[in-house]
Amino acid sequence: MTGLDYLWQALTPLNVLLALAGVVAGTVIGSLPGLTATMAVAVLVPITFSMEPASALILMGAIYTGAIYGGAYAAILLNTPGTPSAIATTFDGYPMAKRGDGDLAITLACVSSVVGGLIGAAFLLGLAPPLAEVALAFGPVEYFWLAVFGLTLISALSEGNLLKGLIGACFGLLLACIGVAEISADIRFTFGSQVLLGGIETVSALIGLYCIPVMIDLVATPDRHLKVTQQPRGFRLKEALAISWLGKFNLIRSSVIGTLVGILPGAGGSIAGLVAYSEARRSSKRSAFFGKGEPEGVQATESANNATVGGGFIPTLVLGIPGTPPDAVILGALLIQGVRTGPSLFTENGAIVYTFIYGLILATVLMLPAGLVIGRYAYKSIITVPKAILVPTVAFMTMIGTYAIRNSISDVVIMIVLGVVGWFLNRFGFSPSPIVLGLILGRIAEQGFVQAWTIGAATEDLTGMFFGRPISLVIILFTLISLFYPLIRKHWATTGGTANAG
């Protein structure tokens, strides 16, 4: 282990306190839809001016990691992913909560997040400089294929009607184009409207498409929001640990996927959870239960998205290129303090980096008790609060949360309208997930495509650009496997006659 002597520096009472406070605050913030880690970290920047750089980093890192875990609450209990990285948590978490296993899902999410966070931090600790090179090896065309790979998930998500899934994805891809184009700076699809000028903000779209339909249906009947089983059952930690032990390969694989994909600046955070989910589903014996409340699905996304925290810090600290939006804020805070990032940070400024990494590990460990207690509290609140309070509270939260992302009322209006559109579409058989996938991956795909095309055309080698690069070919291979795997599986099932998955 490198820099073990810094472990004790990380364990000063102040740092332990900061890590705990950060994790608690982060978890609470992350659980409120619309309140993002980016925002929480940005609010803290001025306070960190007067702190030691390492302590400041620990605080911000703790908030960040807590917020990623906290996002699981809203995803599980309200079907509302607070960040793109929690989208896949809703697929199985919400069905689990619906059938009365919300407490188990939350505890499971907590255990998975801790495992994912620790594995991510371990990579950051041991392999950061070489792994940062991976981020550089990813050129525009790789991002393009990665986005395409993500889009193939649509085929898995829209069982029953692939056409509707594809149409939904196109709708999402078109929504992504609204506003000022991110690289060409052209103003598209606003039709002269100031409301649309800023484009569709991803998190507000997530809140609209996932949460508003739940609210609309919740208000229409007197039924309880979630099924409640007889007695309170404690944390159900034993049960969760048993499931985690059984799913240990899933946890480790998802965490490694989360770390590696998380290294990719910009795209990593949102895609990691989806990739881990689809891989878990593909390799699981219980793949038929995915999407219907399968604990393995929650494990996969929750471990992957917390692993992206460590993964995202790799390019941030080694290259000075932020992996995720919260990383960008943290990097900015470091720059202001006069800390220069780069490979030399690990050798010359080891005190800062290693103290921080150990602090991050400490925060992740502290997340287990803190997360269990807060999660239990969140679950109990959601199931005991009467509907006449729950619905307006959640509705109000979605509004203030959406507003706060960009301090924009237009975003709130867009969020509500998208919610209504999503509710209708869902009734007509167009589920929200392909739309959201299109919205998120559309931007990545478009940028990658345009840049790769520009470079390919300039060097007069378009074919080589799109089909001649090794990493691209691997991603294309994965895409094909993911597309045709259901067919292959079916083929095996009929010829072998052994597989008997529900």
Partner: protein, 159 residues
């Protein structure tokens, strides 16, 4: 929406597809105002793909008698309450620039509480629920505007 419950002949899907085609055409028309090929290549390709998929869906719906697609069971669901929820949220966000965040938040909260109320208004609830609502709105308002320093709209009328 109440009409199509079971064994619907995906009419809604067909109609939606037509709407999406119109939307894609609108998008295609808008791309003609773009000068940079970087801006229009992608949206044009997507809009075209959307039209193709929609036509396929319409054709599919015509050719094949669709199997029973269970829509979300409507049962005795109340449409007025649904409309009320959306109207309250939308109304509050539209008047927010004028009346400010706090007031529109209180109004929306109160209105939605009424729409979501299924239990009888007993004397205790009459007091506890509004007070709880007040506390929640104020609590979040304080958290956002004072702690997280979010500049929530003040309202032109109250400047």
């Amino acid at each position: 929406m109440q009409v199509e419950s079971k064994s619907r002949s995906d009419l809604a899907g067909t109609v939606t597809a037509v709407v999406f085609i119109l939307m894609a055409c609108l998008a295609l028309w808008d791309t003609t105002s773009m000068t940079d090929s970087d801006s229009y290549v992608f949206p044009r390709a997507i809009a075209a793909a959307m039209i193709v998929f929609c036509i396929l869906l319409i054709a599919y719906n015509f050719i094949k008698r669709p199997a029973d697609e269970a829509a979300g069971g409507t049962g005795s669901a109340s449409t007025p309450r649904r409309v009320g929820l959306v109207a309250a949220m939308l109304g509050a966000s539209l008047v927010m620039p004028w009346v400010g965040f706090l007031l529109s938040g209180f109004c929306a909260f109160g209105a939605i509480m009424l729409f979501a109320m299924y239990d009888p208004w007993t004397g205790r609830r009459r007091i506890v629920f509004p007070v709880a609502g007040l506390a929640i709105v104020l609590g979040f308002y304080t958290l956002f505007s004072k702690v997280l320093l979010v500049p929530l709209p003040v309202g032109v009328w109250f400047r």
